[in-house]
């Protein structure tokens, strides 16, 4: 499974790429693999305020419906509208073209609750 260095990770298999006070959010390669072909992405509304660990948005694959949890608290400022017609981008490019939303980070102290890439790799190894 591919894990990208420099990103932060949750135990629910989301990633966040932090750039100053904004964070781009997506799901990991492991998550997209587990879900299988994505068929629908329910994008969050711009302006939506989420708390760390709360549901950011919903996803559907051929197999099942599931939720994406916000890795950090904040306000949604951008969404990847390309996913509306091409949810498979998450399968093809989970860490880049398949990003879901960008948030304005509310509290950078929360980053300490996340895993680094190396910690996430170790976490994946243990949960197998």
């Amino acid at each position: 499974m591919n894990v990208k260095q420099g990103y932060f990770y949750t135990k629910d298999h989301e990633w966040v790429k932090i750039d100053a006070m904004t964070g781009k959010i997506g799901i990991t390669d492991y998550a997209q693999h587990k879900l299988g072909d994505l068929t629908y992405v329910e994008l969050p509304k711009i302006g939506k305020i989420v708390k760390q660990g709360e549901v950011l948005n919903g996803l559907e694959s051929v197999k099942a419906a599931s939720d994406v949890y916000a890795p950090l608290s904040g306000r949604v400022i951008k969404i990847n509208t390309q996913l509306e017609n091409e949810p498979g981008l998450i399968n093809k490019s989970p860490y880049d073209d398949g990003w879901i939303a960008e948030i304005e980070i509310a509290d950078e102290n929360e980053i300490k609750n996340l895993m680094t890439a190396d910690e996430y790799i170790k976490f994946l190894g243990e949960s197998k």
């Binding site: 299988g36 072909d37 629908y40 419906a65």
Partner: protein
């Protein structure tokens, strides 16, 4: 309890299959992509490991048949070398299982049943047939491989010979290949031209690899099988069909021969359909799944039994039981887990028309 494994378990792992539990079996759900496997089946040929389904052999004198009353299938009347779909019903007309009967000779039949119901079916059938009737559960020694897709005839022909051209829809014959004589039927559950091969389970790996050697053939898992059957509006036991449902509720009365006797017939004749099985399409890619609800004007009028994203229609599709008075084609409905969330409309399956099924 450990899940059961089919004779192809190791080959599935080698093909990088993702395995899931299904009816007590470890089965491949996909080999990389459900959507790609679905598409490949509609365009070329896919093979499916269906070892988990059950097969029974029945032999009895047709002059004095007890078997004729066991299911809704007219096993005496039907022609040799043909297959018929039907039901094993309880005394209330509820569906214990849906099945296919193969008439091998005038006094010999094979029944193919769902994996989840195999043991129960066996008990009930044995109870209903007379002591003189021969019954054998041949599931363990029978490998079933489904070869499905518009190019399937060419592939099966290369293994079983030109005689395959004679097989019409829902007929079968015995063919000589791999040093034996085996049943191949022109049946399937994908809506495409297709064949089902019943072979000695010791030859499972050999036949699987032989099929996979053809460039047009790819393996497909239960995930694709579910999308394919749903695109055709075929019911699945456990979802659309249960013991609380009669074939009339499921709109399947065309598979019942009311001219003969069968267990559950009396109740069926007096049964009033309350909820009727319907197909629905959704506006958009979001899908409603098993146990979601159906609403009209905020009022709950039904429940979803299956739902999936259809890659061929590019929208969500599904099946639902809807109060009969609302179960009309083109009726606008709302679907949701607890309250109305998305708009859909009732349609008459199959969702996909003009497949290669009858080619």
């Amino acid at each position: 309890m450990e899940n059961k494994r089919t004779p192809l378990y190791n080959l599935h792992l080698k093909l990088n299959a993702e395995m899931i539990e299904f009816a007590g079996w470890d089965m491949p759900v996909h080999y990389g992509s459900i959507l790609a496997e679905t598409k490949h089946t509609r365009e070329k040929v896919s093979i499916f490991d269906i070892f988990h389904m059950g097969e029974f052999l029945i032999k009895e004198n047709p002059e004095n048949s007890s078997f004729d009353k066991v299911t809704t299938v007219p096993v005496i009347k039907m022609k040799e070398k043909t297959c018929k779909y039907g039901f094993l019903l309880n005394e209330n007309g509820g569906i214990i299982d849906d099945l296919i009967v193969y008439k091998i000779k005038k006094d010999e039949w094979m029944i193919v049943v769902n994996a989840s119901n195999e043991k129960r079916d066996e008990e009930i059938i044995k109870k209903r047939i007379s002591k003189e009737t021969f019954f054998e559960n041949i599931s363990e020694k029978t490998m079933k491989i489904d070869v499905q897709g518009p190019l399937s005839r060419n592939i099966v022909k290369k293994i079983a010979g030109e005689k395959i051209n004679n097989l019409k829809y829902y007929t079968f014959d015995e063919f000589n290949f791999l040093n034996g004589s085996y049943i191949i039927s022109r049946t399937g559950y994908t809506g495409e031209l297709g064949y089902e091969i019943y072979i000695d389970s010791k030859k499972s790996e050999e036949i699987w690899n032989l099929l996979l050697d053809f460039a047009d053939v790819k393996p497909a898992g239960l995930g694709a099988r579910d999308v394919l059957r749903l695109e055709m509006g075929y019911p699945l036991y456990g979802d659309e069909l249960t013991e609380e449902i009669t074939p009339l509720d499921a709109g399947l009365e065309r598979f019942i021969d009311f001219e003969k006797e069968f267990a559950g017939k009396e109740k069926l004749l007096n049964h009033k359909v309350n909820y009727l099985l319907c197909g629905f399409v959704v506006n958009g890619r979001k899908t409603m799944r098993h146990n979601s609800k159906v609403f009209i004007d905020e009022k709950e009028v039904g429940y979803v039994t299956s739902g999936v994203f259809s890659p061929h229609l590019n929208c969500g599709i599904g099946m639902a039981y809807v109060l009969k008075k609302y179960a009309k084609e083109n009726n606008e409905i709302f679907l949701g887990k607890e309250k109305p969330e998305i708009i859909g409309r009732i349609v008459k399956p199959p969702f996909i028309k003009n497949t290669s099924l009858k080619n």
